[in-house]
Amino acid sequence: MNKPIRRVSIFCLVLILALMVRTNWVQGVQAEAWATNKNNKRQVYDRYAHPRGNIIVDGKPVTQSDFVNGLRYKYKRSWVDGAMYAPVTGYSSQSFGASQLEQLEDGILSGSDDRLFFRNTLDMLTGEPKKGGDVVTTINSKAQKAAFDGLGNKKGAVVALDPRTGAILALVSTPSYDPGAFAGSESGDSKAWVDLNADPNKPMLNRALRETYPPGSTFKLVTAAAAFENGVFQSVDDQTQTPKPYILPGTKTELRNESDNEPCENATVKVAMDWSCNTVYGKIGTELGKEKMRAQAEKFGFNSTVDTPVRSEKSVFPTNSTPDGVALDSIGQHDTRATPLQMAMVSAAIANNGSLMQPYLVDQERSASLTTISKHTEKQYSQAMSPETAQKLQDLMVSVVDNGTGKNAKIPGLTVGGKTGTAQHGEDNAGLPFAWFTSYAKTPDGQSVAVAVVVEDGSNNRDGISGGRLAAPIAKAVMQAALGK
C-alpha cells in the first residue's frame, strides 16, 4: 500500500502548493490593487489613524486633528472658524471624503506623500509617532474676516489677490458651512451632510472659484483694455463718438444706459467709464469684433480653468456670437460669464502694470517637523496688456472711485481704483441683479491688493441693488484689512 500512499502524499503537497501559489498571487502580485480597491475601507481608516497635518493661515492652524480614539477612526478633523475658511480648506470627512485643499494636499496632510518617505522612515526607526505635514496658505486672516463679515448673511463671494505675486489673500463664499458638522461618521454627521446637500442656498458651493456670473459692467475694463491694445484710442480723454441710444448692429434694438440723464453721448473713454455707459462700450466691442475681444479676454484668463491648486470653473467669453451679441458680451451681459476669481485677476493685472501673476493659494508644504518640502515660486500667467495700457486703465479705475459709481470704495491715504457692475440675469432679466465690484488699492510704498466682490440678490428691492452700493463697501473693508489701514 506504500506506493499509493506516496502518491497521496504528493497529492496533498500539491494541494498545499496550490494554496501557496494562490496566496503569493493575491498578497504579492495583486496586493497593491486589493489594498487600494475603492471598497477597501482601510484607506480611509488609515487617513484618520494618525494626527492629520494642518492648514495654516498667518502662522496659525485653522484646522485641528482631535484624538477621538474610535476603533475605526483614531482622529477626527475639526476647524477653527470653519464656515469662514471652508472655501479655502474644503472638508475632510471620515464618511464623505474630502474636497479642495483637504483633498488635493491629502498626501502631505495624511503623511503618505512620497516626499515624506524619508522623514516617516526616520520617525518609524526612532519610534516617533507618525504625523502628517502642514500646508501653509497665502490667506491673510484679517482680509478673510473682513470679507466674511462684509458679506454677512448675503449670498456672494469675495476674492482678494496680491497683484505682484498672485497670492490669494482672501477667498470667501457665503452662505458657507462648517466642515466640522460632518467630519465624523456618526448619524449626526450623516444628517448634516444630507441637509447641506439639500439646502437650496447651496452652502457647499464655492462661489469664489466654482460659480460663474454675468460680470456686467466690470467687464468694461476688459473691453477698454482691448480698445487701447488695438489702438482704437490713444488716451483716456479720446472722444468715442457714440450715438444715444446705440442701435445694436443688424437689429432695431436700442442699447440703453442705466439712465437717460447720463452724459454718454459722444463721451470720452473716461467719462464713459465713470458713468458706466453701456452704449459706449457696447459700440467699442462691436467695432473690435469678437476675435479681438476674445483674445484680450483670454489674456486675462477667460476660457480656461485656473488651478490655485483648487481648480476654478472656466470663465467664458463666447466665441460664436453675432455682432449684436458681441456688443452685449462686451458689456458683460449675454453669454459672458466670470468667476469672482477671474474679475480679481482682471484688477490685479491692471494694478500690476499689465502683468498677470498666476493666482495661488498654497505658499508652502512642510513636514510635521517643519522642514519645508516645497515652496511656491511666483509665475507670470500672462502679459495681459502693455504697461502703458495698464496705466490708462488704472487712471480709469481711480477716476471711477474718485468721480464715478465707485465712490463707496474710497480710502483716505491710498490709491484706490475700481469698477462697479450690476449684472442682469435670468430669463428676460427677471432675476434680481448681481452686484459686482472689482478694485485694487495701493499704498504709497508700493504694497497693493486686488479684490473682486459679487453679491447675489443682495436686496429685495431691485432699485436697492447696485455694485457701488452693495459690493464696493465690502471691497473697501477687505482692501483696508489686507493693507493694514
Binding site: M1, N2, K3, P4, I5, R6, R7, V8, S9, F11, C12, L13, L15, I16, A18, L19, M20, R22, T23, N24, V26, Q27, G28, Q30, A31, E32, A33, W34, A35, N37, N39, N40, K41, R42, Y45, G70, L71, R72
Partner: protein, 458 residues
C-alpha cells in the same frame, strides 16, 4: 526505512514544544503592545496555562506513546496557541464594533477540553486496532451525526449552512467528529474488501470495472454526500467525505481506475447539484466576482466576506501590518471562524501565511509518513484517511478564503474558533500519534486482530 529501533525523540519534542508555547505567548504580548501599549494582563496566566497543558500532554506521551512522532504535538500546540491569540485580538476589536461575545476565553476552554480528549485517547486507546471492531457501528454513528443537523433550524448568520446541533447556548458541529468516525468505518470496510475490490473486476476500455455488489457502498457514500450538500447546504463536508473515500479506496486497492470513477461521479454530482441548488450557484457566482456584493445592487444572497478577505490579504502584502495593527474585523463575524486565515494574512502577511501553510503541510506529511511506517493495513488506511482529511479540509477552507475555489464554510483546523473543531482535531492528532507510536515501537509482534479477521497482512 525500517521503523525498528527508531530513536524515540521525546527530548526533541520537548524542545520544540517549548518553542510552540513561547511563540504564541510572544504573539500575545505583541498584540497587547500594539493595541493597548501595554503587556496584556493575562499574559502570564495564558503562558503558564498553555505551558502546563503542553507539558502534561508531553509527559503522558513519554509514558503512553514514547515512540510517537515528535513533530505533531508541537505543531498542533503552535497552531492552537496562535489561533487563540488571533481570536483574542479580534475579540478586542469586536467589543467595540459588534455584539460578538468574547470568544477567546471559550476557545481556550475548548482547547483545554481538546487536550483533555487528547490525553484520554493517549491513555485509553491502548492499540488503534481495537477500533476496527467498531466498523459498522461507526458507520451508523457517522450517519446519525451527519443527518442530525438537518433536523435543527439554520440561523441566518450561518450563511445557509445547517451543520450545527444546538441545545440552548450549547452547540456542536457533528461533522467534525463524523470526519474521524467515518474514517474508522472506511478503514475497517476497505481493509476487509480491498481484495474483492481490487481483483474481482472486469477489464473494460483499459479500466477495471468493479462488480456491482462491491460498487454499492461507493454509490451509497456518493449519494450521501450529495444529500448532505442538498439538505444542509454544506459543500465543504460533502467534498471532504467524498474525497476522503476516493483517496482511501485508491490506497486500499492500488487501482487508478477508482480515482477515475471517483472524479467522474463527483463531477457529475457537482454539475447536477450546481444546476439545481440555488445556494451552490450563489457561492460560485460570489467566487467568480467577489466584489459583486459591493455594488449598489448586490445580487441576492451575495456576501462581502470573500471580497473583504481578499482586500485584507492584499493590504497585508508580503510583510503584513503586524499583529494587532490590521483591520481584519472588516471581514465581519466570520473573521474568527471561517476567515481567520484572512486575519493572519493581513497581520502577518504573505510570510506568515506561508509559514502557516508549511505547518499544515508538515502535519499532513508526518501523518502520511506514519501511514507508510504503520505495520498493519488498518493502521495504514486509518492514518492515510485522517491525514488526507486534514489536507483536504485545509485546502477547502484556505482555498475559499483566498478565492482559489468557491467558499464552502469549514473551519481551519486548530486555528479557527469552534469547540467541536478543536476537540475533534486534538482527538485526530492523538490517534495519529498512537498509530505512529505503534509503528515506530521496536520489536512489536504483528497485530493479532488482523489475523483473526483473516485479512491479508501487507
Amino acid at each position: 526505512m525500517s521503523p525498528q529501533g527508531a530513536p524515540n525523540r521525546r527530548n526533541t519534542e520537548l524542545a520544540m514544544l517549548a518553542f510552540a508555547v513561547l511563540l504564541p505567548v510572544l504573539a500575545y504580548a505583541n498584540v497587547g503592545l500594539a493595541m493597548d501599549d501595554s503587556l496584556p494582563a493575562g499574559m502570564l496566566g495564558y503562558g503558564l496555562g498553555m505551558g502546563a497543558l503542553a507539558l502534561v500532554a508531553h509527559l503522558l506521551m513519554r509514558r503512553f506513546a514514547p515512540y510517537a512522532d515528535p513533530l505533531m504535538l508541537p505543531i498542533a500546540t503552535l497552531l492552537n496557541g496562535l489561533g487563540v491569540v488571533m481570536i483574542w485580538r479580534l475579540d478586542k476589536a469586536g467589543k467595540l464594533l459588534h455584539n460578538n461575545y468574547p470568544a477567546a476565553a471559550n476557545q481556550l476552554m475548548w482547547s483545554g477540553l481538546g487536550v483533555a480528549f487528547f490525553i484520554f485517547v493517549m491513555i485509553f486507546l491502548k492499540d488503534h486496532r481495537v477500533l476496527q471492531r467498531y466498523t459498522y457501528i461507526s458507520m451508523a454513528a457517522a450517519l446519525v451525526l451527519l443527518a442530525a443537523p438537518a433536523f435543527f433550524p439554520a440561523r441566518k448568520e450561518d450563511f445557509g449552512a445547517k451543520i450545527w446541533i444546538r441545545m440552548g447556548a450549547f452547540s456542536i458541529q457533528p461533522g467534525e467528529f463524523a470526519k474521524i468516525i467515518l474514517t474508522v468505518f472506511f478503514a475497517g470496510y476497505l481493509m476487509v474488501k480491498r481484495d474483492a475490490l481490487a481483483l474481482a473486476s472486469r477489464r473494460f476500455m483499459g479500466l477495471y470495472l468493479p462488480r456491482g455488489r462491491d460498487l454499492g457502498p461507493i454509490i451509497v457514500i456518493w449519494l450521501l454526500s450529495l444529500l448532505i450538500l442538498i439538505f444542509e447546504n454544506d459543500l465543504g463536508s460533502s467534498f471532504l467525505y467524498f474525497g476522503l473515500f476516493v483517496v482511501m479506496l485508491y490506497v486500499a486497492t492500488e487501482r487508478t481506475s477508482w480515482i477515475v470513477f471517483g472524479l467522474l461521479m463527483s463531477v457529475g454530482g457537482a454539475v447536477a447539484v450546481a444546476s439545481t441548488a440555488s445556494h451552490v450557484k450563489t457561492r460560485i457566482d460570489a467566487w467568480l466576482d467577489p466584489m459583486a456584493a459591493f455594488t449598489p445592487k448586490p445580487p441576492q444572497g451575495s456576501t462581502e466576506q470573500i471580497g473583504q478577505s481578499l482586500m485584507a490579504l492584499g493590504s497585508g502584502g508580503v510583510t503584513g501590518s503586524g499583529l494587532g495593527q490590521g483591520r481584519s474585523w472588516l471581514i465581519d463575524f466570520a473573521a474568527k471562524s471561517d476567515f481567520i486565515l484572512g486575519s493572519f494574512g493581513e497581520e502577518l502577511g504573505l510570510t506568515g501565511i506561508m509559514a502557516i501553510f508549511m505547518l499544515y503541510a508538515l502535519l499532513v506529511q508526518r501523518g502520511l509518513r506514519t501511514a507508510i511506517a504503520a505495520r498493519d493495513p488498518f493502521g495504514k488506511l486509518f492514518a492515510v484517511g485522517l491525514s488526507s482529511a486534514m489536507a483536504l479540509q485545509v485546502f477547502v477552507v484556505a482555498g475559499g478564503v483566498t478565492g482559489l475555489i468557491p467558499l464552502t464554510g469549514m473551519t481551519m483546523p486548530f486555528l479557527a474558533q469552534g469547540g467541536s473543531s478543536v476537540v475533534a482535531n486534538w482527538a485526530l492528532i492523538a490517534i495519529l500519534l498512537k498509530i505512529s507510536d505503534s509503528a515506530r515501537r521496536p520489536g512489536v509482534e504483528p497485530a493479532p486482530a488482523t489475523e483473526l479477521q483473516g485479512g491479508a497482512a501487507s
